[in-house]
Symmetry: C2
Subunit: 468 residues, 2 copies
């Protein structure tokens, strides 16, 4: 187990995020603290999606014949699908798949729902559990057999432009979501051999974990008309013709939470962006016998005031050593700690400790501006987490001009290698084989250059990395 793996596993346990002792490999329990982080992250995303997507909920089981209809698609999933074969003691006539993703659950219904060009575009999403019979080594939140929080969107368009524009829009949505969480990412167009089964092309978000491996944290697929033809999803044009629709789909998994934890965390434990922290502020009273009641009363009023302003605050009045409290709240990643003793009340001061810097500062306690002051500090924390994460991310993208150089970077420094690629599959496969890691995909166009493998003219700036 790498150092990071060990840290990650320990913090999930110590901060009570996920209990991995559930008696099925790759399936885990969200504990109350973890569930709250999941809930707040989800509500950030829903707020964006709800602007122009409708939330729906499709059944978890998919009949074998529907799953099998789209041949390329089912081929991509056949080794990973869990099958229900019995109801009670009775064998089922038709096997039922636990959804690995919901195209084949939704699209037969879309064929019924889409009628006219005036219905389009249609944009749906759902948040569900999905299942993959992973044969690789499983890891909580990263490689699991039950994805508990699959956020999948599916859109339907009248023309090809509508679908490609929606791909761009989905990239904006996910970028804005990751930005709020301070998760850095790179968006690439996945190579042909690594696209979603059935898609015209796949755009993917990758981030980088502290062990130097990239983690795919979101994908956006342009499905073209592949599924429309398979499931016969057509609409009537203004002229009364029947045409196949164009579709996209895009999704995020539990890996969002893994990234928040893995990227911002440090040797003291979790380091949560305020937007998803179960408690954003913890108040620790400094108690001496004579003044204890007075300090507690003050802290209780302070708590009520902060709570009323809509911030998530906790007053830790347990009768244990202050040091133990500090350790516990730092480990759990509470962004801001207020320490308040009798002298502070007298002097109208507060001791403020930021989790992101672990720095202690004494600031004025001003009744009028209190909420504003706290919100400013929380805003700074959000910004600082993001800046630090992006700096580290960018420091770990290194250009290589030769295959040898690429290989050395991966071996010595890990992270991401950028290089020029002609785009040919044969070159791509040979590069992957030589460097012994995957091509993430093409990030952008260069003005000029030569393919790192064949030396021909190349315009694709592509990325290589050891991936999860």
């Amino acid at each position: 187990m790498s150092e990071f793996s060990e840290w990650f596993h320990n913090i999930l346990e110590e901060a009570e995020i996920i209990d991995t002792r559930y008696p099925i490999k790759g399936m885990h329990v969200w504990q109350p603290q973890g569930f709250k982080i999941r809930k707040y992250a989800l509500s950030l995303l829903k707020e964006i999606l709800d602007e122009d997507h409708e939330e729906v909920l499709f059944p978890m089981l998919i009949p074998e014949d529907e799953l099998a209809k789209e041949a390329i698609h089912v081929k991509g999933f056949e080794e990973e699908v869990y099958w229900v074969t019995h109801g009670g003691l009775t064998p089922l006539n038709k096997k039922l798949a636990l959804r690995p993703t919901s195209e084949t659950a939704m699209y037969p219904m879309f064929a019924l729902w889409v009628r006219s060009h005036t219905d389009l575009p249609m944009k749906f999403y759902q948040v569900v559990n999905t299942f993959r019979y992973e044969t690789k080594h499983t890891r909580p939140l990263i490689r699991v057999r039950e994805i508990t929080t699959f956020k999948e969107a599916h859109t339907i368009h009248a023309d090809s432009e509508g679908a490609s524009q929606q791909v761009e829009r989905a990239i904006e949505i996910y970028s804005s979501f990751f930005d709020q969480l301070g998760i850095p990412y790179v968006v690439t167009k996945r190579p042909e051999w690594d696209k979603f089964p059935g898609a015209d092309y796949t755009m993917a978000f990758d981030t980088l974990l502290p062990d130097g491996k990239t983690l795919q944290i979101g994908t956006v697929h342009n499905l073209g008309q592949t599924f429309a033809r398979t499931f016969d999803i057509t609409y009537e044009t203004a002229e009364g013709e029947h045409e196949y629709v164009y579709q996209t789909c895009y999704g995020l998994s539990d890996r969002v939470i893994a990234s928040i934890i893995g990227i911002h965390g440090d040797s003291s434990g979790l380091n949560l962006p305020p937007a998803v922290a179960p408690y954003q502020i913890v108040i620790v009273p400094v108690l001496f016998k004579k003044t204890a009641q007075e300090v507690l009363d003050f802290c209780n009023q302070l708590k009520d005031k902060i709570k009323k302003a809509g911030l998530r605050v906790h007053l830790d009045d347990r009768d244990i050593r202050a040091g133990k409290k500090y350790y516990g709240w730092e480990m759990r990643g509470v962004p801001l700690r207020l320490e308040i003793g009798p002298r502070d009340i007298e002097n109208k001061k507060m001791v403020v400790v930021r989790r992101d810097t672990l720095e202690k500062e004494i600031i004025d306690y001003n009744e009028e501006t209190l909420i504003n002051d706290l919100n400013n500090i929380l805003g700074n924390i959000t910004q600082n987490l993001k800046t630090k994460a992006w700096e580290n991310f960018q420091d770990n993208i290194r250009p290589a001009e030769t295959l040898e150089e690429a290989k050395n970077i991966i071996t010595d420094e890990q992270g991401i290698v950028s290089f020029l690629w002609c785009g040919d599959e044969s070159c791509g496969k040979e590069i992957e084989e030589y460097v012994n890691v995957d091509i993430l995909g093409v990030k952008e166009e260069a003005t000029e250059g030569k393919c790192i493998k064949c030396g021909k003219d190349a315009r694709n700036v592509a990325l290589l990395a050891k991936t999860y």
Copy 2:
């Protein structure tokens, strides 16, 4: 199909609540309108539960050996459990059950979580999909094979009193939830032969649908120490002894939504309590050529003002006949419709149409008090829906002094029959057989009386009804 069945099925389709055309029997799709009702109902319940329960999320699959551990429990479910037997093309070593309910998923973990008496009580809940291989005739939201919104709470206590008090508390929680939705109910203690498999006793909520059949809409189980012994869930007392815990669990399903629709609805369609209505208010502008822009501008401002106050409002400015709009919004159950024309603006009036009474009223448009006025009307609608539903419910509980009388009531008038019962299982079964419907359970104690069957002294006021 009964008249109600037909109405219910039609309104689910017409109002786009649930699509029943999904290609697996008993598994359905929540469409956007239905999903919103579900979402708002869920958030009412969560608000209550979040006060002192922690939300968690357990895996959907349960290993066969865990499910089988509690013999009485598994016996109650063995004919209804869906089994996963294959992962990809590989047969699994151990069959996995789709959870029919989560006792056997959660309690092995509770055995790890509970340590000391200071940990107790612990109260958890989760909102998940559960599965039952129903062999009876399925009905959307009422008898399904995938319950999509199972809200299950599980609590752990140090002593027997703690568990029985929690049963009372759960009854209060569910009562308060149903009260907010105006759903009438009766709470009974289920007969021994109808309690939850593994429970000491079961308390259940039943409501009444318009076809005269009762629908079980919530259950609360005192599990005593049965599962604690099976799963070895113990805690250390203050004296250092190890004792088994006491447990309760309680749950609600998609039937909550079926009740909202079935009980409040009428021949015009849905009739939604404001708390769960996707739109609480719809504004319909009355447009004439000359004044159209002025009226639209006014209505847009009105909409913004109402939206800003946190109400869910929609401006219907489609270019179709007003009558068609009215019909559509009434069918979808929007609680309040505002009709605004040029004369109304001039006279500072609004036409207000309440969905619950379908009555039209002209009220003053007063900028200052507008939101307050609307909230008052919405409050009246909530109250009126509840009052009407409870009146109808109580009118349909009829006392019977003889078995013959009970049978006649069930045959002629349907609804619920109350009667005195000695409590013996043999009498109970004979009563059920004679009247040919089920005993719901015991509602309360009478001061005196004789068993309707054996004539012995009886104190149990019990209820009989044809059930779903």
